[in-house]
Symmetry: C2
Subunit: 204 residues, 2 copies
């Protein structure tokens, strides 16, 4: 009320970081809802309440914005899941459920649009391939840690990989319909199989 506005009191660097974050979040939401063909820097800038010029200052190209957004959100989600299990390997079935949850929300939907677009658009291909590999490695490392899986035992690495492949397949099955009921039963069954496989791994 007539005094110094909040914006003036926040240092410029923090405002820039907040703008960047708003753009990244709007980009993931936009990609998840409209797909690659409906997602442009302008649409995201408007959604985030940021000028087109400011958006382009942060992200010079459409590819920068959307690959950056998927990477940022993946890091946020990974950090959030790790925070759910501060001790690690507490309850494997709860860990499996949390990992599968990674692939049922807007982040996976956005990533899927980006992957599929990258498979038929040359300028997107190499960047998304590299991004997918990096995010995949991080997710695998998190899964190994939280499941308390000993990858020096034969078959354990592939067991964890297969679990993450299944989680992505479950995400795909949730794309067009709400698959939560079926998914819950599949996760309960395969969570039990995984628990047994990790517990009785050869070499134990």
């Amino acid at each position: 009320m007539g005094g110094v506005s909040t914006a003036d009191r926040v240092p410029k660097q923090d405002r820039s970081r907040a703008t960047r974050q708003r753009l990244l979040e709007a980009a993931v939401a936009c990609l998840a809802e409209r797909g690659w063909s409906g997602s442009t820097v302008s649409v995201v800038a408007e959604r985030a309440g940021v000028s087109r010029g400011a958006a382009q200052h942060h992200f010079p190209t459409r590819e920068d914005l959307f690959t950056g957004a998927v990477e940022y959100m993946a890091e946020e989600r990974t950090t959030a899941i790790r925070a759910l299990f501060p001790e690690g390997a507490a309850d494997r079935r709860a860990v499996v459920a949390a990992l599968v949850d990674l692939y049922t929300g807007p982040l996976f939907r956005a990533a899927l649009h980006l992957w599929v677009a990258a498979s038929s658009e040359e300028q997107l291909g190499p960047r998304v391939t590299e991004l997918e590999a990096r995010v995949g490695r991080e997710t695998h490392r998190m899964a190994v840690d939280l499941l308390g899986a000993d990858e020096s035992r034969p078959g354990v690495r592939e067991t964890v990989q297969g679990l993450l492949d299944m989680a992505r397949g479950l995400g795909l099955a949730n794309l067009l319909t709400d698959d939560a009921g079926r998914r819950e039963r599949v996760v309960a069954q395969w969570g039990a199989l995984l628990d047994e496989a990790l517990g009785h791994a050869p070499g134990a």
Copy 2:
């Protein structure tokens, strides 16, 4: 040379069926390579060597052509896999490998483009949702038969469902890079876990 051409000797109905089949095969190849945005009736007609008018006689709309193509190819593939295992349940690991193969070729790539487009395009949504459900049921039934899985036992239905979810996730992982080496190791490991789970199902 100068005699009656082959085309003249083939009954009209057979020629129409052959044209339809060429269009369906060209539509899957086109969708797999160019994605939904690059796939139109005209592009497919040209690829199939068919006039645009003839293509529209068989498939009045773009949606008819591409949903029809994915359904046709899925039926062809299902029939081909069943033919590989005439006795059924001969070697479960070979069955798992054949099921996973369903999701690593052009058919899965085409279906994926269609699913992802359907998730953000209203006129495609209901048709693809219905198609996905129908193809999913057929594939599940085939998997149960070939694996010799007894679904009256608790957990067996979910075990087979989870396997097919994993197969789709493995297909996704193969979209941008050749993932054959890793996939083979995952399939070997989870094939063994599945074999054990189906063999020692509760109630056996």
